[in-house]
Symmetry: C2
Subunit: 290 residues, 2 copies
Amino acid sequence: MNRLFHRVVIVGVGLIGGSLGLILKQQGLAETVIGVGRRVENLQLAVTLGAIDQYEADAKDAVNDADLVVLATPVDTYATHLRDWGGCLPSRAIVSDVGSVKGRLVEEAEQLLPKHVRFVGAHPIAGREKSGVAYATADLFTGARCLVTPTTRTDPEALESICRLWKSAGSDVCSLDPYDHDFVLGAVSHLPHVAAFALMQALTQLQSQLGHSTTLLGYSGGGLRDTTRIAASSPEMWRDICLANRDNLITMIETYMDHLKQFKSCVEQNDGIGLEKIMEQAKQARERLS
Amino acid sequence: MNRLFHRVVIVGVGLIGGSLGLILKQQGLAETVIGVGRRVENLQLAVTLGAIDQYEADAKDAVNDADLVVLATPVDTYATHLRDWGGCLPSRAIVSDVGSVKGRLVEEAEQLLPKHVRFVGAHPIAGREKSGVAYATADLFTGARCLVTPTTRTDPEALESICRLWKSAGSDVCSLDPYDHDFVLGAVSHLPHVAAFALMQALTQLQSQLGHSTTLLGYSGGGLRDTTRIAASSPEMWRDICLANRDNLITMIETYMDHLKQFKSCVEQNDGIGLEKIMEQAKQARERLS
């Protein structure tokens, strides 16, 4: 018997929510999986794909008998959602999420939910260049990291249930303080996305300086392709992540610009020794990554 | 009969020079291939691998009977080399190169070489994270772009020979003005390298702010790995490229920083619409790339 939950509600049945639904269904981890969302066609597709059993347009009608509700909507909608249906949750229900930002959002969720409800923040780190339930797969989280972000207020039993859920999904589950999470992800994920978005914008500007006779991107190789791959990520999702992790991101972009300035200043001063030192340090750090 | 050249001298038998040697030998494009370099063990290895037939420590002893000399050394050594042995070249010999920067270097090569010698700039665009003749392969340039950069002074017959050489190597040969080459490569290759080097440096600084309890890079996913892959490139080579393409690179780093500043300013002002617009433009540009 694999069952962890009786009735699971997934609010937002996209790539991540849909993939979680497939896992819950295929492994028999939940008796019933209910989807909640704005677009009926999307929810119908999710039923057809086997990601959910049934759906409700209004979350309040779905959550009143749930033992787990998973928020899989953009992070800037959390407060609206929790205010809307938080009061309808039964005692000891677990609310969790899959958002890429934690810190303040976890704090807010704990404040907005009634005392008898147990919140556990979670962030499964999965590739997300494609979006929508149509791309959902039961192996999306296999071998991927899932960060859970308990606080002093987190119920240990609820935390354990969420960890078991993500382990069943094949994830490597780690625990991190919610604010540390945002610093870490700001550095290893959000800043690289900003770097890639801005690089594509710079290339578009340089193309306009070059005129139409030569197409810059026609001369690119694997280096540029790799460096800018994540610039094709969802603008809506990344807008929300950047604003939700605003304070970290601002100082991190500044740190990044400082290093670009240092590099530029070495080039300006023809400082080959300085340049080589920067590149050697960068190379060594990069080699620890692979 | 595939033979294009009688006696080819490769000055600098590393990854690129060595791979070119393998191609010349294996396809019978040259009767004799002679390597020139500073390290005898390296040249001996090149003979063992079949990249060259024989070697000379002093280029002057090698070039006096050559019909093609290929410079495959760092770009900042060109002038020293050409001054050293340019005067020993026989009439109508072709001198070519494989450097990542052209513009001023091509101009300089044309000025330094005697009038009876024919210079043709070439830049085979091949992956170069590994360096050294030990990694040389005859298929390194297969399917890759090779840019030739003729000027008004370039001999058409010499240009044709160099184009045939690189087509034989499996490359897709294109012609570009030497200064346009440097602008184009500055944008699609040199700037992305700077972006990746500086990003790794920023992450190292952010790690030091976080302390030892949490290892940033342990939380990274495929996004960071791709974005920074080229930061593992050779510091010596990239120092030379950055300095040789100095003027373009300085204005391009400035353009990049302008876009990072715009991004940061949207985050600071909570301007979700502005952020989404930037990301949407970046995504569309990126999608034209793949």
